[in-house]
Symmetry: C2
Subunit: 346 residues, 2 copies
C-alpha cells in the first residue's frame, strides 16, 4: 500500500513514521526542500497546485490524504479523479472558511460563538481564510476599532469572545465502514495564541457531548480518517471553536499515551484497514516546543519524557517539536510536567 | 548527531525509526539493496569488510554501532581508529565464539551449560561461530553420533542439554557514565529453534539474579548500549545460554510495552544521552512472524495488536515481522495472544 500526502510538515512526518512499520510507503508533496517529512517519506518538491506533481503523486500512490487544510480545492478535485482522496473536498472546504465552518456546525445543532451581527463588543475580527496559531486576528473593543479591522483584514468575520472555563479538543477517527473511534478529550493551554499544552482526561465530564459533536460532523461529511474539533467548555455546555479535517497538534499525546496514535489511526483509516483502540494508557501530557529547541540531554534526563523533534529551522512562534510526558500517577505527571517546562523555558 | 550502524536489517530499521524523532540521522552499511533499514536510514550498499565503505560511514557519522554480532573484527578495529564504536570489539568477539562466551561467563562466576569433556550424552554439537536461530547445531545421543558431528561441523563445541523449566532473557542498557537500566525479564518460547514469543513479567522471581548477570557482564566488558543475555531457569538457578552484544528480538516488546524501547535506549546510550525508564507499562507480549506474512487486516482487527513488518521477502524460517500485543489485564492479554496466534497460523 502506498499513501500520498499533500504537505510534508511534521504531521506528514509523524504519519510516515507510523506507516513504515505497517509496510506502507508514504510520498509527500511539499515545496520546501527541508520539509520535516523528507527523512522518512519520498518527497516531491513542488507546490500543492503543481499539476505535474499531483500526477506524479497519483502514479506513486494508491490513496491520497492531507496534513493541512490549506490545500487548493482544485488540487483535491483534480486528485479525486485519479485516486481515492480522504477527507473529501467538501469537508476540507467547510474548515477552510470560518464562516462556512460556523454555519456547517450550526446546521448540525452544534453551538458556536455568535458571529457578525449577533456580536456584542468587545469581540475578535478574524480573516475567514488562512489564519492559524492566532495569526490574522485582532481584538476590538469599540465600534471604530471593529470597523477599521473589518476594513484592514481581508475577508473578515466578527466573532464574539466566548466566556469559557477551559479550552479542550476531541480527536476522532472514522474508517471506511463508518466505524468511529474517539480519544479522550484533552484540555489545551496556549501561549501567544499558539497551542502550548494538551492533557487528556480519562473521565472528563464533557466526553460524551464532545463525542456527539465529532460523530455528527463525521456522519454529515462522510469523514474517513482523523479529524479534530476544538471546543470551549462554557457554563452552557460545549461551544465548537474550530474544526481540523486532519490529525491535530492536540492529539500528539496519543503516540505514547494511547494504544493507537492518531497518526497510525489515520493511516489505517485512509488505507482501508480497521481502527485501533483509542484509549488513554496512563497519565499523559503533551508540551509543544516553540521557537527554540531546549537541551536534548536535559529533556531526556527527566523520566517519562519522549522527545519529538521536527528538524525545522528555529524561528519565533514556530513549533519545532513537542514532548510527550507519561507517568504512573497524576501526581508524578504534575511533577514531570513542571520539570519539563523548566527545561523548555530555560 | 549522526549514528552509523553495521548491518541494515530489522534491528537497524527499528533503531532508525527510534532515532528520527530525536533528530538523529542513521546511516547503515549492508550489502543487501533491499535491507529493511533502507526506507528510514541512509544506506551504503557494501559488505561489512569494505574499507572504502567503512571510511564513508565514518565520514557520515559521529559514532558507530552494530546491529549484529557477525561483524568482521578487523572492521570494528579499523572503525575504532576513526570514530567511537559501541560496543567494544572485545565484547563482540566474546559473543562471536561459543567457547569464549562460555569461558567469559564462567570467569564472572555465571553458570553455563557443561561443555566438551564435561558433557554426558545426549548433548548438542554446535559450531563455535556463525550459528543462529538453531542453525549449525545437531543433537547427538551416542558416541558415534557425537564423533561424526565433531568431524562434520566446522570448529565445533559440545554442549550439555540443560534441564530447564523455561527459557528467559534479560535485556539491559548502559550509558557512557556507567549507569545501567534493565528491563523486566521475558519468558521466551521457540518454534523450530527460532524465537517465537517473548513475554515480560513485572515481578519475575528471577529478575534480581538476571540483573546481577547482566550487570557483571556490562561492568567487565565496559558495555555502552543495549545487550541481552538468554538464560535457562533451572532448579539450581539461572544458567546463561547466549550473550548478544546488541538489541535483541526478545526485547522487541519494549517498543509499546515500556516507557523507553530498547531501540531508543540503545541510540540514547551510544550517542551520549541519558537512559530512559525501562519499566513494563502494562501486560505485553511479542510474537514473531516467521516465514509468511499473515493478513494485515486480520491482525489489526484485534484490539491492542501493534504490527511491525520488516519488508523482507518471505522465506521459510525467516523472521519477516513481529507483533506486539498490549492489554489492560493479564486475562485480556491471554485472549488477545490466542487470537493473534490464530491469525498468524491461518
Amino acid at each position: 500500500m502506498r499513501l500520498g500526502v499533500l504537505g510534508g510538515g511534521q504531521l506528514a512526518r509523524m504519519m510516515a513514521l507510523a506507516a513504515r512499520p505497517l509496510g506502507i510507503d508514504v510520498t509527500v508533496i511539499d515545496p520546501n526542500v527541508e520539509a520535516p517529512a523528507r527523512h522518512v517519506a519520498s518527497h516531491i518538491v513542488a507546490s500543492l497546485d503543481d499539476r505535474e506533481a499531483l500526477h506524479q503523486l497519483a502514479e506513486q500512490c494508491d490513496v491520497v490524504t492531507i496534513e493541512l487544510e490549506a490545500v487548493p480545492p482544485e488540487s483535491l478535485e483534480h486528485l479525486q479523479r485519479l485516486r481515492p482522496v480522504y477527507p473529501s473536498g467538501e469537508f476540507v472546504a467547510m474548515t477552510q472558511d470560518r464562516l462556512s465552518e460556523k454555519l456547517g456546525l450550526r446546521a448540525l445543532n452544534i453551538a458556536t460563538a455568535p458571529i457578525n451581527d449577533e456580536v456584542e463588543l468587545p469581540a475578535i475580527v478574524k480573516t475567514r481564510r488562512g489564519g492559524y496559531d492566532g495569526r490574522g486576528q485582532r481584538r476590538v473593543s469599540t465600534d471604530a476599532e471593529r470597523d477599521r479591522a473589518l476594513d484592514e483584514l481581508p475577508d473578515p468575520i466578527v466573532e464574539a469572545i466566548v466566556d469559557f472555563r477551559r479550552e479542550l479538543s476531541i480527536v476522532a477517527a472514522a474508517d471506511r465502514h463508518g466505524r468511529i473511534a474517539c480519544w479522550p478529550v484533552a484540555t489545551n493551554t496556549h501561549r501567544n495564541g499558539v497551542l502550548f499544552t494538551s492533557q487528556p482526561h480519562g473521565d472528563d465530564p464533557c466526553q460524551q457531548q464532545a463525542e456527539a459533536i465529532a460523530t455528527a460532523l463525521i456522519r454529515r461529511y462522510g469523514v474517513i480518517g482523523v479529524c479534530c474539533v476544538e471546543l470551549f467548555d462554557t457554563e452552557h455546555g460545549l461551544v465548537a471553536n474550530e474544526v481540523a479535517p486532519r490529525v491535530h497538534n492536540s492529539g500528539h499525546w496519543t503516540i505514547e499515551g494511547s494504544t493507537t496514535s492518531q497518526f497510525e489511526q489515520h493511516v489505517r483509516a485512509v488505507c482501508g484497514l480497521p481502527l485501533g483502540l483509542s484509549d488513554l494508557r496512563q497519565p499523559t501530557a503533551m508540551i509543544n516546543v516553540i521557537g527554540q529547541e531546549p537541551s536534548l540531554e536535559h529533556l531526556l534526563s527527566i523520566d517519562g519524557v519522549h522527545v519529538h523533534r521536527y528538524e525545522k529551522a528555529p524561528r519565533a512562534e514556530r513549533k519545532v517539536g513537542h514532548v510527550t510526558i507519561t507517568a504512573a500517577t497524576e501526581r508524578q505527571l504534575v511533577d514531570r510536567i513542571r520539570r519539563t517546562k523548566a527545561v523548555i523555558d530555560s
